[in-house]
Symmetry: C2
Subunit: 343 residues, 2 copies
């Protein structure tokens, strides 16, 4: 079989998946059930640490000391192509996707990148300084804006895996960006649901939800001037968190440097509380924002979702899409508020 | 907080979840990464074994020797209420669900049941005799038909978790039934997709897909007179399998005893091959069939899906709904065919 990654669409549900044979060669430094694995891998030096720049592909973006050279020392954050990409720019030619067959597929064109949060071997994002944490959010913005120039792309998915149970293969704190010629299913579902709500009621569903959440307070974990962190009303995992801008804002790219710092400080406090309440759980966070070519819709509101691995999805979840949790989000919010470090 | 389980709907996507505090008390005999855990638990005798009938709630269905008493010896298969239910019939009154608020919830009325496959402590379904395996499929049918009498229910979800990684908390081979007043999301998505396809093209999408799959052959793993096992064209996990009746059949309940045996024999062969190729992977299987009150639609075709835990979903999967696998289903099918035991 070719190594070229492929996008395939399920003929019934329309769900897209990626088949990426090259990812089978990933080195896996994290194994076992240790939630945040705190080791530096066993079989190789960490390729994300300072001094190991030659172990990654050439950087495509970095924050660096003035005068320092790409792929040399002096960086505080780097973005590099993923060595084991789920999507691939070259050598595939771009093929427009068209529904000509019941079984539809296309080359998975796009960029798969790794954002290395910091030069030190930190494996828990709460150990990042406020400035480092802010720079992660600034870099998300910069890279999304840069990738928008490639007109073949429909979306840039930004996410972070922390801990082996959450799918991280290396411990060194990092995020990932996967850009694709399609809008991924769960984001499309949100966009569609939000648009329908707006058509029916004339409001952004997120704004309406926030109004009610802020009035109730029962699921509010923390808030700052422009952001609020909530436990999700209908969570997939216990302690699932959503962080949203309080004011309506469809696009993440609009975040200012000051707001990026505010978001970083808020999220760091909430993560410390979560680490405390759930003993360093593994988790993912992911950014949901309006796709590249879809303007500034009045119905969509960017936000960050965070799903801790507090349970193991089984047949009811995988087979029917219905998640079962045992801790109500109101109980989780109360615990998280109680464990929140001072701001 | 009350122990009463609750159904909640995500205000944006409409995704239903269950919040079931009682399930937090589940005993967990299976832990760790051992795929099929082969132990009998550590802290208690297995409650599903012959002789331990008093450790489960009273049976609601069983295959038994003539003259034997309920909840005593002499059974070959039992269905009992789940002691840690995700849904609950009593004491909640049924409340019809209506979209009165942006944040919608309802008591999770329904039956959560465990189907104990056999009296012996077997933890791998391939160790069931053909007759025992057949009886599992017969009992699915019987219980779905019986639960249909409760007019509050919209659907009976039937699934099986094998191995700790797939969410099983006890090793003794068993299935689960969870019936709900709503149709779960993934099934509704299939129904909607299949209905749209039928409207556009006048055919059942599954029948069309099968026609092409049987002609191509590249993803066919095994077939019998009435059934075929395929690797999924757009899998969520490597080695994902679908088993479908070859002829159009919207409802699982229509399966005959003879077809149940045929399905059992076919699936057992495929599972042996999967166990061999992937070294006893953990997996789930789940039955997708037309909901209780939706007749016999020309567009829907019941089937069994089987998802092995061949990878750990991470941020791209959980955050965007886009699964990445590294082994193409054509490669997986070839391996599975090669390892298939004789029929």
């Amino acid at each position: 079989m070719s190594e070229q990654p492929e996008l395939r669409r399920d003929p019934i549900t329309g769900r897209w998946v990626l088949i990426a044979p090259a990812r089978a060669r990933r080195p896996i430094a994290l194994t076992g059930h240790a939630p945040h694995a705190r080791t530096n891998g066993e079989r190789f030096p960490c390729p994300f640490c300072a001094g190991q720049e030659a172990d990654t592909p050439d950087e495509v973006f970095a924050y660096r000391e003035a005068g320092s050279q790409p792929n040399g020392p002096g960086w505080s954050l780097r973005i590099v192509p993923n060595m084991y990409p789920a999507v691939q720019v070259e050598p595939a030619e771009f093929v427009a996707i068209s529904a000509v067959s019941v079984l539809e597929s296309a080359p998975a064109v796009g960029y798969a990148e790794v954002l290395i949060d910091c030069p030190q071997h930190i494996d828990n994002p709460t150990q990042l300084s406020n400035q480092q944490f802010r720079d992660v959010f600034r870099a998300y913005r910069e890279r999304m804006q840069a990738l928008a120039a490639d007109s073949r792309l429909a979306h840039v998915a930004v996410f972070k895996n922390v801990g082996a149970e959450a799918g991280a293969s290396l411990g060194h704190s990092h995020s990932q960006l996967i850009s694709t010629p399609i809008v991924p299913e769960l984001l499309r579902k949100e966009l569609t649901g939000a648009e329908e709500y707006h058509r029916r009621r004339g409001h952004c569903v997120y704004c309406n939800m926030l109004e009610r959440e802020l009035a109730d307070g029962v699921r509010v974990v923390a808030r700052s001037e422009h952001f609020v962190a909530l436990t999700a009303f209908a969570p997939r995992f216990a302690y699932e968190l959503w962080v949203l801008p309080v004011g309506h804002q469809p696009r993440y790219e609009a975040i200012s440097d000051g707001e990026a710092l505010e978001l970083a400080v808020l999220l760091k406090r909430v993560l410390r509380s979560l680490d405390d309440c759930q003993h360093l759980p593994a988790y993912n966070w992911f950014l949901h924002t309006t796709p590249l070519r879809e303007g500034e819709p009045p119905y969509y509101h960017w936000h960050l979702e965070l799903t801790p691995r507090t349970s193991r999805p089984a047949g009811f979840e995988w087979g029917f899409g219905c998640h079962i949790t045992t801790i109500a989000p109101e109980v989780a919010a109360e615990q998280l508020r109680a464990a929140l470090p001072p701001s």
